[in-house]
């Protein structure tokens, strides 16, 4: 499991827009690696640089130790699954899958065997002679996968492969992709703007923003310990509190003074306008007086009618329920406290019918342990644009972000 695929200081710009900005990144053999980010973050450009469709302005791309930066696409042992599938419309399913093998001038017998194997893998043996416009979206997707995999690429590149499918199909293909990855054992480089897809499939994820890698880690690391408020907001839901870091907590308020000397520096008080002071875990040693965002995931908060017992580092706040959405396995609450509308998720590990559920307008208590919140640098207005718009629309709306994806798609045509 050495570094198998390596981007070294890769940059690419289109006009004034830096699509990829000095990115260095290594992927291990057999890994399922995702590039995740809103449109225009440079993830597709990075993929196209590896495929050979774009030349980087700076940097090198290494594949299995070999420098492939200057190789044309057809000499690279990588294959791509395109968002549009790009199946050849004049060829049957069989001929689409056989295309790469025929180009490589493999013996006829071998081509027949390999294509047959692939057709079995994607369970389309009986559709081999249909043309792409005679099969469904999900089937097209599977043919695209087979067409790429039959060449036994060293890396399989997937460019938003599920974006064109409806939700149900997407979920099924998600499982199929995972199974295929386990079965063939090759390296997958997966590009998506959908954090759900990235989280459920990946061994590791690189969250990208404006041409740079914002955070790289396992899905757990990225969700549980986001390094920036952008990552926290882009991956899953979160509550942000806008505050100023105050003094570290006093010793006597920490764990009855027993471990106090060791831990007191790790917790700080956070002052928030028109809101009670909060206790926060300060692992980054943010200095007093800094303005920060405190991020707390909805499922990390507890909601109750009775005030919970005070324990060290437990933040307890009173509020009024504004909205309740019952989702079967869980219930989502929105609770108003001052200027904040806090979202809380409660899992029904045990739901008792005779228990009176919390309803609208009830006065409730919200509580969470200081360890479950993260103090992060405040995100910019630009970040807010990136996060709040549905990711597909981001590239189209703010003019400042247009360039990268427009340029990308213009050359793709």
């Amino acid at each position: 499991m050495s570094e198998f695929l390596e981007f070294q200081d890769v940059s690419k710009h289109y006009g004034d827009v830096k699509a990829v900005d000095h990115v260095s990144l290594t992927v291990k053999q057999g890994e399922f690696f995702s590039l995740l980010g809103p449109s225009g973050c440079g993830k597709t450009t990075l993929l196209r640089i590896l495929a050979g469709f774009e030349q980087p302005d700076t940097g090198r791309v290494l594949l299995g130790g070999e420098d492939v930066t200057d190789l044309p696409p057809y000499e690279r042992k990588v294959n791509t699954i395109f968002q549009s599938y790009a199946l050849f419309p004049h060829l049957s399913v069989w001929d689409n899958i056989a295309f790469g093998l025929k180009v490589a001038k493999r013996p006829k017998k071998e081509i027949k065997e390999e294509v047959a194997k692939m057709l079995t893998l994607i369970q389309m043996e009986d559709q081999a002679w249909k043309k792409p416009d005679q099969i469904s979206g999900g089937q097209k997707q599977r043919v695209a996968i087979a067409r790429a995999l039959v060449n036994k690429p060293r890396v399989l590149l997937l460019d938003e492969p599920l974006a064109a499918l409806d939700l149900k199909l997407r979920q099924r293909m998600l499982i199929e992709l995972d199974l295929i990855h386990d079965e063939v054992g090759i390296t997958f480089l997966y590009v998506t703007h959908d954090q759900g897809e990235a989280m459920s499939l990946s061994d590791r994820i690189a969250v990208m923003k404006l041409g740079k890698i914002e955070q790289l880690g396992t899905p757990e690391e990225i969700y549980e310990a986001p390094r920036s408020s952008f990552v926290a907001a882009f991956i899953g839901d979160t509550n942000f509190f806008d505050g100023t870091v105050a003094e570290p907590l006093e010793k006597d308020s920490v764990l009855n003074g027993f471990l106090a000397a060791a831990v007191d520096k790790d917790y700080s008080r956070l002052k928030i306008e028109d809101f009670p002071d909060l206790e926060c875990f300060n692992d980054k040693q943010i200095k007093e007086g800094e303005r920060v965002f405190l991020s707390i995931r909805p499922e990390k908060m507890r909601i109750s009618r009775e005030r919970p017992a005070t324990t060290p580092h437990l933040n307890i706040i009173a509020g009024t329920v504004e909205d309740v959405i019952y989702l079967g396995s869980q219930t989502k609450y929105w609770v108003r406290t001052g200027d904040y509308r806090i979202s809380i998720i409660r899992q029904h590990s045990r739901f008792l019918l005779d228990e009176k559920p919390i309803r609208w307008h009830e006065e409730v208590w919200i509580s969470w342990h200081a360890d479950d919140g993260f103090m992060l640098e405040k995100y910019s207005a630009q970040d807010e644009n990136l996060i709040q718009l549905p990711p597909e629309e981001v590239g189209e709306n703010p003019p400042s972000l247009n360039g990268a994806d427009l340029a990308g798609s213009a050359t793709a045509q």
């Binding site: 469709f53 199946l87 050849f88 056989a98 295309f99 180009v103 067409r147």
Partner: protein, 292 residues
Amino acid sequence: MKAQRRVRVFEWLVTLPSLVWLLVLFLIPTVLVFAITFKPATPYGGIGSGWTLETLRTLGNPNYPAIVWRTIWLSVVVTALCIVLATPMGYYMARISPRRRQMVLLLVILPFWTSFLVRIFAWKVLLHPEGLLKQLLVFLHLCTPDTSLLYNTFAVLLVMVYTELPFAILPIYAASEKFDFRLIEAAKDLGATSFRAFRAVFLPGIRVGLLTAFLMVFIPSLGSYVIPDIVGGPTSEMIGNKIAQRTFVDRNLPHAAGLSALLTLAVLIPMITITTLRRKESPKDALREEGV
């Protein structure tokens, strides 16, 4: 059932104008041409009464096979050259920015703003022994002063390609514009070189455009007579010249009609054969055949 029938009636109603058009302007004249072939000619250029096989006998003129053969090979070469030139052009036009595309499209159409005859006379001036092109070629030592650029098959070929080229470019461009160029990328991704991708993916992708270009160039080429008349010589006569000659000089309409009918059959028979043959093929075989 009733709604279905109404849809059918509606379909017939909207198809009717084009059917009438085809009937009046194509089918009836064609039948007339075939019919006149079997009429006797009158000395003053009219059509006599009764029926005769006289024309069929005169069509056996020993000069004709050579002319027919020349007409066919000239048309084939013109069509091939036009398609070979127009395909990269269509590809190029589909890839450039819409603004530049408008410009290039305008340039392609621009010649149509000048009369066809004027343009051919312009070529006559260019190719003339005292003409600009000839003088330039001599100056560059690319030809000797006594080589003739005019009144030969070469001149006919050149001017025919010039005239027909837009008719090849336009349908090929229209098909290229609809072509999904991401498929080229997909082909390269699967290991195909640029040329292989062009041949195995682009050409099949625009085959409707290619077929249209073929028909748009080949059929008018078969019938052309103005170009060989103006820039051609006695060795580059085409069947169109003979038809014109029989109509305007000899004033023998049945004979002219006979030659026209011959030309029509020469185009129709191969085309009908090809289409019926293709239709008989099972779709499965057709798919295999189109494979790379």
